[in-house]
């Protein structure tokens, strides 16, 4: 009984919050700035044709720069926490899963490359491509073809931080010329592709690392 009363209070508060948010959703004022019109009006100068990619990499490029930094921080946190891996007894590896992994992973790498390239013109981009690469790495680990990671070596560290460093370098170079992340219109497309390529590799490695640093399959010692 002593435990039921606070729980009931929480449920009541939650229902009150739901009612208040319902009322808010029905009663929203009109936005002061017409953002879709602004996005569409300047789309030709952004260097890409897809509005979401333009918002992510050009209009709000600063947010994406901070986002890759946050991803890197999360990976550092997982690295710090992961600690000494416990060895699991060797699991039987399914040969059908291994064959599936061998067939699917090259196709997934191809799909990731396509998504990276297509992000300029249609739905796609660095995040989706990086996610597909990370999924390929997880599939390889589950099939027993890729061992779990312990402390990353120099090359892996370079790959993990490359996306952030490339983005930071472009931002610093542009800052020397004027404002932060203001691409010159004729270079915008190329710069965005360069940044997205770095982001794809890094996001793939970081997301894969989030899984593989805590997994225990195939870990030696």
């Amino acid at each position: 009984m002593a435990k039921a009363l606070p729980r009931l209070l929480v449920v009541l508060l939650a229902l009150l919050l739901a009612a208040a948010l319902f009322a808010a959703v029905f009663d929203l004022p009109q936005p002061a700035v017409d953002l879709p019109a602004q996005v569409a009006a300047n789309l030709a100068q952004t260097g890409v044709e897809h509005p979401v990619t333009a918002v992510l990499l050009n209009y709000r490029g600063y947010d994406t720069l901070l986002e890759i930094a946050v991803l890197l921080l999360a990976l550092l946190g997982v690295l710090a926490i992961a600690g000494k891996p416990a060895t699991r007894t060797a699991e039987r590896v399914d040969p059908v899963l291994q064959m599936l992994a061998r067939i699917a992973v090259p196709l997934m790498i191809l799909v990731a490359g396509y998504l990276l390239w297509a992000g300029a013109h249609r739905p796609g981009g660095a995040f989706q491509a990086g996610a597909v690469l990370a999924a390929a790495a997880v599939l390889l680990n589950l099939a027993g073809l890729l061992p779990a990671w312990s402390t990353p070596g120099k090359l892996l560290r370079l790959g993990l931080s490359a996306g952030f460093l490339v983005f930071l370098a472009v931002a610093a170079g542009l800052l020397a010329g004027g404002e932060l992340l203001r691409y010159p219109p004729q270079l915008a497309g190329g710069l965005i592709l360069l940044i997205e390529a770095g982001l794809t590799g890094s996001i793939g490695l970081i997301l894969a690392g989030l899984f593989l640093l805590t997994s225990e399959r195939g870990r030696s010692r």
Binding site: R7, V10, V11, A14, L15, L17, A18, L21, F22, V25, L28, P31, D34, L35, P36, V39, P51, V52, A54, V55, L56, Y59, R60, D63, T64, E67, V70, L71, A74, L75, G77, V78, I81, A82, G83, F127, A131, I203, I206, L207, L210, F211, L213, T214
Partner: protein
Amino acid sequence: MSAGLIYALTGVLLFVMGAAGVVLLDHLLRKILAFNLLGSGAFLVMVGLAQRGGGVDPVPHAMVLTGIVVSVAATALALALARRLLAVDADPEQD
């Protein structure tokens, strides 16, 4: 009652469910699940209301995309913390 409004209201309910779950549930893993539901509810509200102006507003799309990636990173960090916490704990946790 447009489609966007339906999803926005669903997002509100998911948000409140997730918030109540984070407070009320005991097991760490369940709290992490509830936290993810809370985030997904918030994303639904943002994108559901993006269709208000007649066209499709790409700015909330970009924000939600960023949000999904950051929330998976936060979930991974939370799970690593939970593993360490529950490994040091002497008593086996209740489900």
